[in-house]
Symmetry: C2
Subunit: 453 residues, 2 copies
């Protein structure tokens, strides 16, 4: 119900917009867009076919352009950038925070980057260059170098006076960082503690030095994990010498978590999380054809196995009728194991220490399912083909294939991960290859041995 | 690489722990556990087989018990609670914040809840009862009623003195709420503004009344969406009369986002996001058998179609060899479309206004893929069976099935969502039924018409 209500609301908004666009009345569209946050505008643009997307993008307040570009997927971003001229791009990029700008830089034309750098003051230019010097997908690339630091040998009163002098703080500042003369991180002081303690309190007494800083080279997924394990709002980023380089805030982490989740969901189907819902037909075709082509190759493998048993099938065509059941059930059962394993691997819950225990559990589940479903299958086959031998063979084959599926479902993702590959991406192809090939082979093989004489 | 490194680290920790557990040296295990946050301990417990889980759970500092229970999945939570006696449970629950306690309450025995309520002061008891009066999965159930409010007609100095008197603020307090005499929400003041403005500044001037409050009945997914669309750290929760009831903080929202993502990934395989990696074999079997049973029923449907063409297959066994290719490719192509649609629906990007445009795009992609892959398939079949007619038939059948897959991939999830069902859950079963049935039917049907005479 809640789900439906939400859908209705978004759908209503989209419909309103769509109708207004169709009628060419752009005034209401513009008013609607200007009530949305950059992330919401981004979401809206992603949902529009190319022609309408272009119109709406032209109506977005130029001040929001930069933030919107940061909030859309790579592919949509490219299509939006292609619609802007150089001056617009420079203006959009100049408005951004350093960390957001760093996010965008790879997609901007060189000339635009040059202009943006020229328009920045030296401090910000150096900050941007520092952020860009770290690899994508690391803490260094996520951090914002704009941090507020204080010294330990002072008081709340002095710090408050300093903050009043300084004026506005960086967004989502919940802590001030305490550093020494060499800018090494000593600890942090919560804003909450500043406002709840007496002005004469020495900062020394408020320092929490029990903080875990993030190393600048740490992978983004680890950063995300730490944020959610420790309920952080922000965290400091340091180098090898514990020198404070910047800070990461939860809003960027939320984006990472969403991207990771989309990656996991889409890569199982051979798609990229940056895929545009309305990507050009030719590009979408090329990309999907690669994935389907790999699947076609594995399908030939399975067909080759069936081909070995053409004589058997000729003698007993019921086998052709039933063989997709054995293969398909293996695929379905294996996919269940796979889904659990991929999640477990992503959460760090599955490793060398518990693979054996997991395998043993899944093998037992497969055996029980094989016997249970095998019984149903045997009954149906008996009623359909009046052939006890065939019913027996398909039950054995099904149980065997569920076993193969369980073993493949546990071992394939673990092995891929150990070899440094993404288990979410390729596991399902390997799995269905196993369940198709083994399903056909055991069923047709057993039938040849037991039913033909 | 980064992925591998992270895996290695977690795996090493797990291995250390596992070795220590195996050797019975519990001292090091206890020391290791006490360096972890409650969320990390929860993650660790989820990764352990039942026997080891029990041992480790016994070693966790009782002070952390409550927080750990909040951080594990429903199934694991039940197994942990089953290992605790009443006194331990009461102690664990008493330590928790109201919102966390509300999360746990459904899983606690009535006697424990009674004891916990008894041990609370009246204010907190009323707060808990208020939170529990809202339905699960709504903002009311997520909120923490512990908020700091101020009046508009005062100054920064007065507020700071009040805060110093009050002492510690609720966790993740980034704003103070400004309310009127009837506790209706007028706006909020950022902690950041309090510390950067002169003490004599009137609060009136710092109020941001442009805030969007969350209605207490709003579904949790909408709350999560708003947080990530607006980069919030916290947000106020109000009732119909705009009376301030509590606030929601980003850490709880991150948990929702993770759960949603897991739900989407696991429900495609007919699993629940609360599924325990090591759930008892019998329970896991029963649950999976339900899903596999439904799949078996649809497999019979597809087998029934093949059964109509037994004579055709008897005359040309190559059809049995090749028919799984046509059905399987349809399933794979449809799964790609489905994955995109399910994501689009979850993000509110897909609705009545753009379904037609999406369908048209996917149909063109399917046609191009059908022709491209069909050509490859035709060549292989020609080389393998030296039968031009067969090559032609399989190419046409493949193209048709990719078309069916595209149409089903777009329309099935949209229709399920419109009917109020979860598109992530059942779409894949319907889809593969379509691609299997139509794949077999077009291939074998065309072969009967064109190849047999």
């Amino acid at each position: 119900m809640a789900e439906a209500a939400r859908h209705d609301k978004t759908a209503r908004q989209l419909r309103l917009l769509s109708d207004a666009l169709d009628s060419g009345r752009l005034g209401p569209v513009k008013r609607l867009i200007n009530t949305l946050s950059p992330a919401e505008i981004g979401n809206l643009l992603e949902s529009l076919p190319p022609a309408k997307r272009k119109v709406v993008w032209g109506l977005v307040d130029p001040e929001d352009d930069g933030e919107v570009l940061v909030h859309v997927g790579e592919e949509v971003r490219e299509s939006l950038i292609a619609d802007m001229d150089e001056d617009e791009l420079v203006a959009a990029a100049t408005d951004l925070d350093i960390d957001d700008l760093a996010d965008l830089v790879d997609d901007l034309p060189d000339k635009v980057i040059e202009e943006v750098l020229k328009s920045m003051d030296r401090e910000n230019r150096e900050r941007l260059e520092r952020v860009l010097s770290y690899a994508e997908g690391t803490a260094g690339r996520l951090m914002n170098p704009d941090v507020v630091t204080v010294r330990a040998d002072t008081t709340v009163d002095v710090v408050l006076r300093y903050l009043r002098l300084r004026g506005e703080l960086p967004e989502h500042t919940d802590h001030l960082y305490v550093v020494n003369r060499r800018h090494r991180l000593i600890g942090w002081v919560a804003l909450q503690d500043l406002v709840t303690h007496d002005p004469s309190t020495p900062i020394n007494r408020l320092i929490d030095d029990n903080l875990t800083a993030i190393h600048v080279d740490e992978p983004a997924e680890d950063v995300a994990r730490k944020f959610s394990d420790h309920d952080w709002i922000s965290a400091p980023v340091v180098d090898d010498d514990n020198v404070l380089l910047g800070r990461i805030t939860i809003d960027d982490v939320v984006d990472i978590i969403r991207e990771q989740a989309e990656h996991q969901a889409l890569s199982a189907a051979g798609l990229d999380e940056d895929e545009d819902l309305f990507s050009p037909v030719w590009r979408a075709t090329r990309r999907r054809m690669l994935w389907l082509g790999i699947n076609l190759a594995t399908a030939f493998l399975a067909a080759g196995v069936v081909g070995q048993f053409e004589d058997t099938i000729h003698a007993l065509t019921a086998l052709a009728v039933l063989m997709p059941i054995v293969a398909g059930m293996g695929g379905n059962a294996g996919t269940q194991v796979l889904a659990l394993m991929v999640r477990g691997l992503a959460l760090g819950q599955v490793g060398a220490s518990n693979v054996r225990a997991l395998l043993w559990k899944e093998v037992r589940v497969a055996l029980l399912n094989g016997l249970g479903l095998g019984l149903i299958l045997a009954l149906v086959v008996l009623l359909w083909f009046h052939d006890l031998g065939l019913a027996l063979v398909i039950t054995i084959a099904l149980t065997c294939n569920l076993l193969f599926a369980a073993i493949a479902g546990v071992l394939i993702p673990v092995t891929l991960k150990r070899l440094g590959y993404d288990p979410a991406l390729a596991s399902s192809i390997f799995l269905t290859t196993v369940t198709d090939v083994m399903g056909f082979f055991t069923f047709l093989g057993l039938a040849t041995l037991l039913l033909l004489r």
